[in-house]
Symmetry: C2
Subunit: 235 residues, 2 copies
DNA sequence: CTAAACATACTAACATGTTAGTTGACACAT
DNA sequence: ATGTGTCAACTAACATGTTAGTATGTTTAG
């Protein structure tokens, strides 16, 4: 038996700024969200320290933060694991995300400026190009940008951040959907309907268009529980 | 000059459970939320360690958590202060709270059971008694219970927790309103209207009744910026 | 052969020593 | 009197030593 010392697939800490603890947090979070550390992976403090070349203090702080966000499960005195998906947590996140995005789009419909409409229009043009090129990953990003822009247009700086925190698990699960992204076309169409309603300052229609659009995600995530059953908690 | 060694008004750590870090966090958080450590108070790690009889590690972890929640501001290498109120943060929290509570009440209107209606009715009876007794603090609690019960009735366990995190600053500011709580009467009336709509399973009316009710708070908080200007950040 | 008890190795949690950045006071030049 | 530079004291951030709880593998009793 060769003692296989598996290295964790972590990014480089040198390229980041901020305190050591923040950088360690960013590296771990990125690896978890992009599924390079799949659910169930055991994270050992000692190993992380060695690999990143830092001491245990900043690592402990980073893990505490990840634990608060629900990205890792800490078993006291024993082990730390990347948390598995839980359908109930995902359904909850869906509810929260819908609540926030609907409130945002309703408000933005009443306050949106010409410049903001131009920016959204430009983003949708980009989305169209990416769909035509079949660039799934690119579309994924532009899609997130579209939603984030609307959140930002509420004028509340922290709302985007709150949404990000709330729907962390959702974003993580979304990555699993990337390979089968034939939905981009429809998604684009739904985005256009939201924008169309915003152009007309029609809050009610914007709301229902967004509600329909967001409703598509959960029905695409639910089958994953069986496809990737090892990523989900036992029920 | 007598060297005044001001003790922080912290609760006792012995009475709590969980890891040391969790207990330290709970003690600090409680002192901040109840304004025993008013905004601007300087928290020194060394002092906290000495007073609670713990080492710096758990204190550091606790402060990191409070910092993430925005209850304290850490100035790197220098000092940690209890954060001051910021009207823009409060307005943001108001927006988020409204988004979540409206979504919740809308959903609950469609799913509420008889037992849940009974529980809410009982809570409102209690509220009425407390108003008649002029027990402001008691009403404050029953009021929070009412809202939390509705959140809990969504069936999403984490939603109540998320709301609590989101409207932390709001709760803190609400404490300042306690002395002048002649609004309890009206507040009770508004609660009754929400419950009435829930009884009829009328989601739309429940939503607008809740929206009206929540809208009252921000207009009562805004004047505080001038009354307690030392608790707010300079604008 | 099975199950329980014990020993061992390993981990997170906690305590404490060390480093480096910030602040504020005071001296000094303008 | 005022603005600037230096320095000392203090703080959070980081590193490392220590403790205690958990899991696992082995041994031993039934």
């Amino acid at each position: 038996m060769t003692e296989e010392l598996e290295k964790l697939p972590l990014g480089d800490i040198e390229t980041l700024t901020g305190s050591l603890a923040q950088r360690v947090y960013a590296v771990l979070r990125e690896a978890i969200l992009h599924m390079r550390c799949p659910p169930g992976t055991v994270l050992r403090k000692g190993q992380i320290c060695e690999q990143l070349g830092v001491s245990r203090s900043p690592v402990a702080e980073a893990i505490a933060k990840l634990s608060a966000e629900g990205l890792v499960d800490v078993v006291p005195q024993s082990a730390t694991r990347v948390s598995r998906f839980s359908m109930s947590v995902i359904r909850e996140a869906t509810f929260l995300r819908e609540a926030l995005e609907l409130a945002a789009v309703e408000r933005v419909a009443q306050t949106i400026t010409e410049e903001q409409l131009v920016a959204l229009t430009r983003n949708l043009k980009l989305q169209r190009l990416l769909v035509e090129d079949g660039d799934h990953a690119g579309f994924f990003e532009a899609d997130e940008d579209f939603h984030n822009m609307i959140m930002a247009f509420t004028g509340y700086q922290g709302v985007t951040r709150t949404l990000a925190g709330v729907s962390l698990q959702l974003s993580r699960a979304r990555i699993l959907l990337l390979p089968s992204s034939d939905r981009a076309q429809e998604s684009l169409r739904e985005h256009e309907e939201v924008l169309e309603a915003l152009r007309r300052r029609d809050a009610e229609t914007a709301r229902s268009a967004m509600r329909f659009h967001l409703g598509q995600l959960i029905s695409r995530i639910e089958p994953l529980e069986h496809v990737h059953s090892d990523f989900f908690v036992a029920q």
